[in-house]
Symmetry: C3
Subunit: 163 residues, 3 copies
Amino acid sequence: MTSAKLTVEDRLLALEDRQAIYQLVCGYGYSVDGCNAASVGNCYVEDGVYAVGDMPSWVGRDAIAAITRDAGHLKLVGAGCAHMSSLPFVVIDGDRAVATCHTMVPMHGENGFFIGRLSASRLELARQTDGGWKIVHRQNYMLNGSGEGPALLARLHETAKTS
Amino acid sequence: MTSAKLTVEDRLLALEDRQAIYQLVCGYGYSVDGCNAASVGNCYVEDGVYAVGDMPSWVGRDAIAAITRDAGHLKLVGAGCAHMSSLPFVVIDGDRAVATCHTMVPMHGENGFFIGRLSASRLELARQTDGGWKIVHRQNYMLNGSGEGPALLARLHETAKTS
Amino acid sequence: MTSAKLTVEDRLLALEDRQAIYQLVCGYGYSVDGCNAASVGNCYVEDGVYAVGDMPSWVGRDAIAAITRDAGHLKLVGAGCAHMSSLPFVVIDGDRAVATCHTMVPMHGENGFFIGRLSASRLELARQTDGGWKIVHRQNYMLNGSGEGPALLARLHETAKTS
């Protein structure tokens, strides 16, 4: 939009930032389905929060990484499931960013595959000192009739600072 | 492919264009699920067209933005739904572009989630004077047995000019 | 991450590579649903392999392109289906790359849409002499209770060389 005023460095960084956030958002799902605890933990800052509307929040990287060892999660993985994220809408504001996406968890059961969960998701992200990005706070709401999911999606253009 | 002949400016612009089109394609879904009329309208040019094979077309930005206030749409959002787009295949040709993707609308009902709609989608896009991109014409066809959806997907490499 | 040490050329190429791989991964699905044999074939190198856990492998570009003329495939397309790929996690290492994603095939049947297949997918890719990327080997495993799919997803950070 305002690229005429930006330097080549600015423009490269903006492109790299969005690609890095794409990697982070989709990589979380593959990591959690693969029960790769280190990779799940690395998606979050040390004191990151993963808040899901209908569950207690996970607080801290270690608690979030431990999802990969949770009995309920292992049962889902054992039966067959995919924690899918859609392409995120990403708003970058300096060293902070917000990504908005849908998440869907198709699962395998006795009668084949079914959609176990469908959510709206908003991730607040922070640039790290090594240049990478991590999740500071992720909020998911199930899209099953509550107004919280649609309200969260409506804020797609808001940055972490304005929200 | 031919990057050896392109300037840094050309290459940055091509990268930015594709990222901007990614934002547009996924952002539409979050905006419509969030009933964010302004954001939905901003996806389209003033006289943009949203054509869906099994419904009357929406003509003009205002009509398309009004989907967010439509009784049928509000009922879907109230029950729980997600207008999901897959990662688009994007062909850019100067100030025009075409994006091809799948769209899927999982919905929530009495027996949990189900896939209400599954479509092939082709978006013809135009660069705006501020450098951003908007949808000029979007055609969706349900993938439920008609040959129109597969035929539309088969044209993924065609630009707006050649189509 | 280490962009401070990289030249503008290096950084542009890395960005272009990931976008090209995005095009390849999503473009395969639209091509196969559109029964566009040339486009399906062009996703693979001449001796490329498409290995699916519960089926015999397809070996060679011609065999893979011929999926678009397969009676079983045409029946699916005729009924309505979408070969959807999620946003891939991409690790590039010189002229080789690995992309990890989910694939899902919603299909249309007598009772509406259902998820016919859900898989973990790992694509080993090679840079071509014209600068583009093609698939050398793709491995899919159904996510229906076997441990192979989760094990494949857990390797998302591995390159083709380290795997």
